[in-house]
C-alpha cells in the first residue's frame, strides 16, 4: 500500500500525486514507470514516473482520467492509499549528448517528460519542450517545464495559448529553421497517434527520434507478452525492453490497433462503475 502525501489538480481531468514510495524513489531513473492497482479486482495500469526524490522517498505521478481505473485513482485523496504499486519498470532511455534535444509532449506526455528534460538540462544539453493540448486549460506543468528547459513551445488546437495548431506543425516550423531551431534529437511522449505523427515529421527530416510506448500491460516483468510491440520487424516487450524505442522502427499501425483491443470492454467497465455508484 502506497500513501498519497499530496494531490493537486492540474486540469479538470488531470491530477498530480506525490506518494510515499521510498524503494521506488531510490531506484528510479528518468523515463521509467510504475504499475498500479487501485482496488481488489481492479486492473493493473502503467503510469510514468513524472518525478522522484530519493532523499524524501517520494515519487510523483500524473494521472489523466481516461478509463475506470484512472477515474478511481482520481477519486483518492491525501492520506488515502493506492493498493499496489510496483516499479521502477522499464529502462531509462539513452539520449545522445550534444545538439538540440527537443521533447514533444501531448496530453499527460508533457508531465512524463519533466524529470527526463531536467536530467538533460542538468547534463548541459540545449533543451526545448514542445507541448500540446486541445486548449489552454488542459496544458500541464508548463511553468515547471519552463524553468527546466531552455525553451518552451506551447501549442493549442484552438489557439487559446501559444501556437495555434498541432505540436507536429510547430515541430515542422522548427525543423525549417524557426527559433529555437532545428532539433538534433526528438523525444516523443503522448498518445499513440501523436507519437506516430511526430515520427512521420522527423522521419522526413532525418532526425533521430525516440518514443515512449505505453501499450496495455499486466505484470510489467516480461511474463505475459501482452505489451508486445513490433520494432524493426522484431517483437519486443515494452515493459522490459522499453518503454523507449527508435520511433522510426516502431510499427505504429499495429501498436494503435492493439491499444484499442478493449475499447468496448472499457466502456462496459465504466458503465458498471457508474451504476454501482448510483446504487451506493
Amino acid at each position: 500500500m502506497v500513501k498519497i502525501l499530496e494531490k493537486c489538480q492540474l486540469t479538470p481531468i488531470t491530477k498530480l500525486y506525490r506518494v510515499d514510495a521510498p524503494l521506488i524513489a531510490k531506484a528510479a531513473r528518468a523515463g521509467q514507470f510504475v504499475i498500479v492497482r487501485v482496488r481488489e479486482g481492479g486492473e493493473r495500469i502503467p503510469l510514468t514516473i513524472t518525478d522522484y526524490d530519493a532523499e524524501q522517498g517520494v515519487i510523483t505521478i500524473v494521472v489523466q482520467e481516461v478509463g475506470a481505473t484512472t477515474r478511481r485513482l482520481a477519486e483518492l485523496e491525501v492520506g488515502d492509499h493506492i493498493l499496489d504499486m510496483v516499479g521502477p519498470l522499464g529502462e531509462a532511455p539513452d539520449i545522445p549528448s550534444g545538439g538540440h534535444i527537443v521533447g514533444v509532449g501531448g496530453g499527460y506526455g508533457s508531465a512524463a517528460l519533466l524529470c527526463l528534460m531536467r536530467e538533460l538540462s542538468d547534463r548541459g544539453e540545449k533543451t526545448t519542450i514542445v507541448m500540446g493540448a486541445r486548449e489552454k486549460d488542459l496544458l500541464i506543468l508548463a511553468d515547471e517545464l519552463g524553468e527546466i528547459c531552455d525553451h518552451v513551445e506551447i501549442c493549442t488546437d484552438d489557439g487559446s495559448a501559444g501556437f495555434k495548431g498541432f505540436v507536429t506543425e510547430r515541430l515542422q516550423e522548427m525543423i525549417d529553421g524557426s527559433p529555437p531551431g532545428r532539433p538534433d534529437y526528438v523525444i516523443a511522449i503522448g498518445p499513440m497517434p501523436m507519437m506516430r505523427a511526430v515520427e512521420k515529421t522527423t522521419a522526413a527530416a532525418g532526425i533521430d527520434t525516440t518514443a515512449s510506448l505505453d501499450p496495455l500491460m499486466i505484470d510489467g516483468t516480461g511474463m505475459c507478452g501482452g505489451c508486445r510491440v513490433t520494432v524493426g520487424g522484431e517483437v519486443k516487450f515494452a515493459c522490459v525492453d522499453g518503454p523507449f524505442f527508435d520511433a522510426h522502427e516502431v510499427d505504429f499501425d499495429e501498436a494503435v490497433s492493439r491499444s484499442k483491443m478493449y475499447v468496448k470492454e472499457e466502456q462496459k467497465a465504466a458503465a458498471c462503475q457508474r451504476s454501482a455508484r448510483e446504487v451506493a
Binding site: 510496483v86 499486466i218 516480461g222 458503465a271
Partner: protein, 465 residues
C-alpha cells in the same frame, strides 16, 4: 473381490456439463471410505519402488500404512515432512509418470491412487483447527527469497523452521507464482494456496509483494544495505515464447501466460465487476499440448467458447499434459487436432479470423527422442477462429540476470549453479526451480527449494563457525 485386486478407486468429479461452465474445482476428493479402501489396496511392498518415482522421496508405503490405520495425523506428518506442498502436489503432480508409474500394482490392477490420497490427507489437515501462534526466528541471519512460486515457498518454509528470518519478495501483487497466476481455480483453488501461505506466515515468514529484485531492489543491496546473509532465486521460467509466424500480434492472439494471468490473477471471469477484460470468442484455438495448454483451453470453454480446440504438431503420444487433465478436457468437449502445425494467424481489420495450418506426419526421432513431425506438402487449410492462444513454452525471465552483473546464465537463460546444483555464480546466492531447469514441475521446484534451504543452512553455519 479382495481389496488388493480391486481397481483404482475413481476420483469423484463434477459432471462435465456443469463444471465446464464455471471455475469451481473439478475433482471433489475422496471421502473417508474411499480413502480407507484405497489405502488398503497398497501391498506394503518389501521393496516399495514408488518412493523412487517421487522427486522428494515421500515414504509412500509408511504413509499408506498410516492412512489404512486411520491415523490421519501421522499420515499428514509423514507427508508434510517430505513434501511441504502436499495439498498442492496431490492435485497437480504428474503421478502417472512418477510414483504411480513405479507402483507394483500398476501393471495388473492399476496403481494405488497415491496422488488422490495425498490430496485426501492434506485436505484433512487443512480442515483441522489452526494454531495461530506466530513462530519467532531465533537466529540472527536473514535470508531473502526472490519469487514466491513453489521453489521459493518451500525454501522459505524450511529456513523458517530452522530459525532464520525469512522475507519472500514477489514481483506481482499476490504470492504463489504459477500456482497463483497460471494454474486455474478449477484445478487448484486459490484457497489452498492461501492456506499454505498462511501456514508459512505462522512459521514467521514475511511476504513482501510488489518488489522486483533487480528493479526495486538490486540483488547486491540485499546484502550490502539490507543485511541479508543469503538469497534464494526462485524466479521461475515465465517468459513466454512466440512462434514467429505472421499474424501473432493481431488482436485476439494471447500467450497462454497472458490469457491465464488475466483469468487467474486478475479475475477476468468476473468482468466487469473485476475490471480486467479478456476477449473470448466462439472459437478458440490453443497451440501446444502441455498442462498450460489444457488449462488455457478449458478456461476458454468456461468463458463461453463453443469450440475450444487444441492444435498440436505432434501426436497424442507426445502430449506432455497430465493424463487426468487430458481426460477431463475430452469429457468437457475440448476438440483435439493432432499432427497439425499452425503456420499463420489470419486477420481482418487487426483482429484474428483464422488459423492457417498444415497437416503433419511423424518421421524419424529428433534430438528429444520423440518422432519428428514432418509437414505434408499441399495440406494447408484454415480453421476459422476468434482467438489464438500460444502455449508453446516459456523460458527463464532474464530480468534479474540482466540487472545483476556476475549472475551467470546458460545461453538459453537458465541460471548457472555449482556442482551441488544450488549456488549461483554469486557468493551466497542460491537458485532453484524453473529458473535453473527451465519450465518443469511444481514438485521439482519444491524439491529444489528444499535442497537449497539445506545448503544455505549448512553454508551459513560454516560461515559463522
Amino acid at each position: 473381490m479382495p481389496v488388493k485386486r480391486a481397481d483404482k478407486t475413481p476420483m469423484p468429479v463434477r459432471e462435465p456439463e456443469m463444471r465446464a461452465r464455471d471455475f469451481e474445482e473439478v475433482n471433489e476428493g475422496y471421502c473417508f471410505s474411499h480413502a480407507m479402501f484405497e489405502a488398503e489396496r497398497c501391498l506394503r511392498c518389501q521393496d516399495p519402488v514408488c518412493i523412487d518415482g517421487c522427486p522428494v522421496r515421500v515414504p509412500i508405503a509408511d504413509f499408506m500404512h498410516a492412512v489404512a490405520a486411520g491415523d490421519m495425523h501421522k499420515a499428514s506428518e509423514i507427508l508434510r515432512t517430505a513434501n511441504p506442498l502436499a495439498a498442492i502436489c496431490g492435485r497437480v503432480c504428474p503421478q502417472e509418470a512418477q510414483c504411480e508409474m513405479k507402483c507394483h500394482m500398476t501393471k495388473r490392477f492399476g496403481p494405488v491412487a497415491i496422488g488422490h490420497l495425498e490430496r485426501y490427507v492434506s485436505d484433512w489437515e487443512m480442515a483441522q483447527p489452526l494454531n495461530d501462534e506466530v513462530a519467532k526466528p531465533w537466529r540472527d541471519e536473514k535470508v531473502a527469497i526472490i519469487g514466491s512460486g513453489p521453489s521459493g515457498l518451500v525454501c522459505a518454509g524450511e529456513l523458517a523452521r530452522l530459525g532464520y528470518h525469512v522475507t519472500v519478495y514477489e514481483a506481482l501483487h499476490a504470492p504463489g507464482g504459477v500456482l497463483r497466476y497460471g494454474i486455474p481455480e478449477f484445478r487448484l483453488p486459490n484457497s489452498i494456496l492461501d492456506w499454505e501461505i498462511a501456514s508459512l506466515e505462522r512459521l514467521g515468514v514475511e511476504f513482501v509483494n510488489n518488489v522486483i529484485i533487480g528493479k526495486t531492489i538490486k540483488l547486491d543491496d540485499l546484502f550490502s544495505e539490507m543485511g541479508y546473509s543469503a538469497a534464494f532465486i526462485g524466479t521461475g521460467a515465465g517468459l513466454p515464447k512466440f512462434m514467429g509466424i505472421p499474424g501473432e500480434s493481431l488482436n485476439g492472439v494471447y500467450s497462454a501466460n497472458e490469457f491465464l494471468t488475466r483469468i487467474n490473477l486478475m479475475q477476468a471471469f468476473e468482468f466487469p465487476q473485476a475490471e480486467t477484460p479478456l476477449k473470448v470468442g466462439g472459437r478458440v484455438a490453443v497451440i501446444g499440448s502441455g498442462n498450460t495448454a489444457m488449462d488455457a483451453v478449458r478456461s476458454a470453454l468456461r468463458l463461453g467458447a463453443e469450440h475450444a480446440m487444441v492444435v498440436y504438431r505432434r501426436s497424442e503420444n507426445e502430449m506432455t499434459a497430465r493424463i487426468e487433465e487430458y481426460e477431463h478436457a475430452i469429457e468437457e468437449g475440448v476438440e483435439f487436432h493432432w499432427l497439425t502445425n499452425p503456420i499463420e494467424v489470419l486477420g481482418e481489420d487487426g483482429w484474428v479470423t483464422g488459423l492457417k495450418c498444415m497437416r503433419m506426419e511423424l518421421g524419424e526421432p529428433d534430438d528429444s527422442g520423440r518422432a519428428r513431425p514432418v509437414p505434408i506438402e499441399g495440406s494447408e487449410f484454415v480453421f476459422p477462429v476468434d482467438n489464438v492462444v500460444l502455449s508453446i513454452g516459456t523460458r527463464p525471465n532474464p530480468l534479474l540476470s540482466r540487472a545483476t552483473p556476475g549472475l551467470k546464465t546458460h545461453s538459453w537463460g537458465g541460471l548457472l549453479v555449482d556442482e551441488r546444483q544450488v549456488e549461483t555464480s554469486v557468493h551466497r546466492v542460491y537458485a532453484g526451480g524453473d529458473a535453473v531447469t527451465g519450465a518443469a514441475t511444481v514438485i521439482l521446484a519444491a524439491g529444489a527449494g528444499k535442497k537449497a534451504a539445506e545448503a544455505i543452512h549448512s553454508d551459513l553455519t560454516a560461515d559463522t563457525a
